[in-house]
């Protein structure tokens, strides 16, 4: 039943004008950003936007807007089911509440892959246009770049999990976007400040808040030790403190844990509440 629910989710999404507008807007923003990089590289001998060197910028440069647009799209697709009362109609039609939720959870994975493809496709096209000789070596991402892609997918699962939890709890499109955005843009910062002010263990715990951890996954320095080394040297030369990255042994369980917690909480909320 989860498979059927996912097929229905994709059918609904590709015909939804609001979904197409959101994806189109993301394409436009990414196109403008990557296009600008390509244009600068064309105009200036010092700048470069060619493969394979452009992969880090392609994968992580526009990751934040992709996480935001992707989450907003997910809220549009989930929360509207409650405003239109189609979530209850789906159950009346024979889909269990659990299968309905599985369809939405699979949708998060589909959207994560879609937005990654969108970044790779748009950025890759501009970078390819700026590459003198396109060889398979130039096109194929290396281990660090693959790690950055994995980081993006995991970060999307975290952002998406939070968006799913807010959608099934708030059950209204505008209000859900508002609550989600408030937490991502402001709420977590306030909590972090509050915990920091308490000091001790509370201040330590502030480090592990979800959005901060998810954002670390889309920092290229987290994935490429050589790039981190170069950034550290530049910072030392400028007299700045070295850039901080997470230990993978900590970052991975923290981000996977938060994402799993959001999905689990969303499932419990959806299952317990009447439609």
């Amino acid at each position: 039943m989860g498979g059927i629910a996912l097929r229905n989710e994709i059918s609904k999404m590709i015909r939804r004008p609001a979904a197409m507008v959101t994806v189109g807007f993301m394409l436009l923003v990414a196109g403008l950003d990557f296009g600008q990089s390509w244009w600068q590289a064309r105009e200036s001998a010092e700048a470069s936007f060619a493969l394979p060197g452009a992969w880090p910028e392609i994968i992580t440069g526009m990751a934040q807007p992709a996480l935001i647009f992707g989450s907003v799209l997910l809220i549009l697709l989930v929360a509207s089911e409650f405003s239109w009362r189609t979530a209850r109609q789906n159950v009346i039609d024979g889909l269990s509440k659990e299968a309905w939720f599985r369809g939405k959870a699979y949708l998060v994975v589909v959207l994560a892959a879609l937005f990654l493809l969108l970044l790779v496709g748009t950025g890759g096209a501009f970078a390819a246009a700026g590459t003198d000789s396109l060889t398979s070596g130039a096109l194929a991402p290396d281990a660090q770049q693959l790690s950055a892609m994995g980081g993006f997918l995991l970060a999307f699962m975290g952002y998406g999990g939070l968006a799913l939890l807010v959608s099934v709890s708030v059950r209204g499109t505008g209000a859900s976007i508002g609550v989600w955005f408030l937490y991502v843009a402001l709420g977590e910062r306030l909590i972090r400040t509050g915990l920091g002010a308490l000091g001790g263990a509370a201040a330590d715990a502030a480090r592990y808040l979800p959005v901060q951890a998810f954002n670390s996954l889309v920092s290229y320095l987290q994935h490429d030790p050589a790039a981190l080394g170069r950034a550290a040297s530049q910072a030392a030369a400028a007299g700045d403190p070295p850039p901080q990255v997470w230990e993978w042994e900590v970052l991975l369980p923290v981000t996977v844990g938060w994402a799993a917690l959001f999905f689990a909480a969303a499932f419990v909320v959806h299952r317990r509440r009447d439609l």
Binding site: I4, R15, Q89, V91, I92, D93, R272
Partner: protein
């Protein structure tokens, strides 16, 4: 076999008891009318049967299934509408039905047949948001018929339809009932239930106050409509009869209930008292009479919202 059986089913919203220890049994092949005034718990009961509301206490079975997994499987074999039709506004009628068809495991031909059956084939390519309320009702009905369900649960199926549309739906429900489909029909239209249903349950304040075959309910004591030039003498004459009593008025007509089911005896009794009857007409007890007697309501039952 009981197609629907509820045992002490209860739904409470805070201090409000929407459904109170409700126990009903719908047998295979019945066309079961579910009647009650506003807020009596009809829609809440259906909501629990369909899995969108969780009962506070009590149990129920649907098509023999009772556990969570069995109920999910049983609901696949149920076609249901609840309150107003809910579909995706930006999709066409056909696209909406395709989504339902996938869930029910049926193909494109079932979608086409269903649209044809409710007279919506010509407008199937229009978007749902462009449909009139009547067309939305038809689309909802088409959704319920997609998989030839064993049980049809219909909540106000003629709501929003024009008289011809209402007639079509009644014909369809009657035909499906004759074909052996069990139908559970919630309606605020008493005459609709009386025309279509074989059995009925009447709810009041979340409790079943009456459950019976429609024929048995309307059989009861015989009624007659009587008029005479001297209305006061007529009423006094009827009151003086040991097996008759005035139960209602329709203009100049007095409606009397007879325990002995013998209108001729009443006529004789009145003539002996000098009351000359100008009209005496046997009346069958209607479901509306039963409803008002049972619920004490003077109005027809209306629709309710799920809380």
């Amino acid at each position: 076999m009981a197609v629907i059986e509820t045992r002490d089913l209860t739904k409470r919203y805070g201090d409000t008891l929407a459904v109170d220890d409700l126990s009903i049994r719908v047998e295979e092949g019945q066309v079961f009318g579910f009647l009650g005034p506003n807020g009596s718990g009809k829609t809440t009961t259906i909501g629990m049967l369909l899995g969108i509301l969780t009962p506070t206490s009590g149990t129920f079975s649907l098509l023999g299934g009772e556990g969570r997994r069995e109920l999910v499987e049983a609901r696949q074999r149920v076609g249901a509408t609840l309150e107003q039709p809910n579909f995706y506004p930006y999709l066409t009628g056909r696209q909406n039905l395709r989504l339902v068809a996938r869930v029910k495991g049926v193909g494109e031909e079932a979608v086409a047949r269903s649209l044809e059956r409710v007279g919506l084939a010509a407008r199937a390519g229009d978007r749902f948001k462009e449909y009139s309320l009547g067309m939305k009702q038809r689309l909802a009905l088409a959704g319920t018929l997609l998989s030839d369900p064993e049980l049809l649960i219909l909540d106000e199926p003629t709501n929003g339809l024009d008289p011809e549309g209402m007639r079509e739906i009644r014909r369809l429900v009657r035909r499906l009932g004759e074909d052996g489909t069990t139908i559970f029909l919630s309606s605020h239209l008493l005459w609709e239930v009386e025309r279509v249903c074989t059995h009925v349950a009447i709810l009041r304040e979340g409790r079943v106050v009456l459950e019976s075959a429609v024929d048995e309910l309307t059989a009861g004591a015989a009624r007659v409509a009587v008029s005479a030039p001297d209305a006061e003498a007529l009423e006094a004459g009827i009151d003086a009869h040991p097996a008759a009593r005035v139960v209602d008025r329709e203009g100049a007509l007095l409606i009397a209930e007879l325990e002995d089911e013998d209108p001729a005896a009443l006529n004789r009794h009145l003539a002996e008292r000098g009351v000359h009857v100008s009209r005496l007409e046997p009346r069958k007890k209607s479901l509306e009479d039963v409803f008002h007697e049972t619920t004490g309501s003077s109005e027809e039952p209306g629709m309710e919202e799920v809380a």
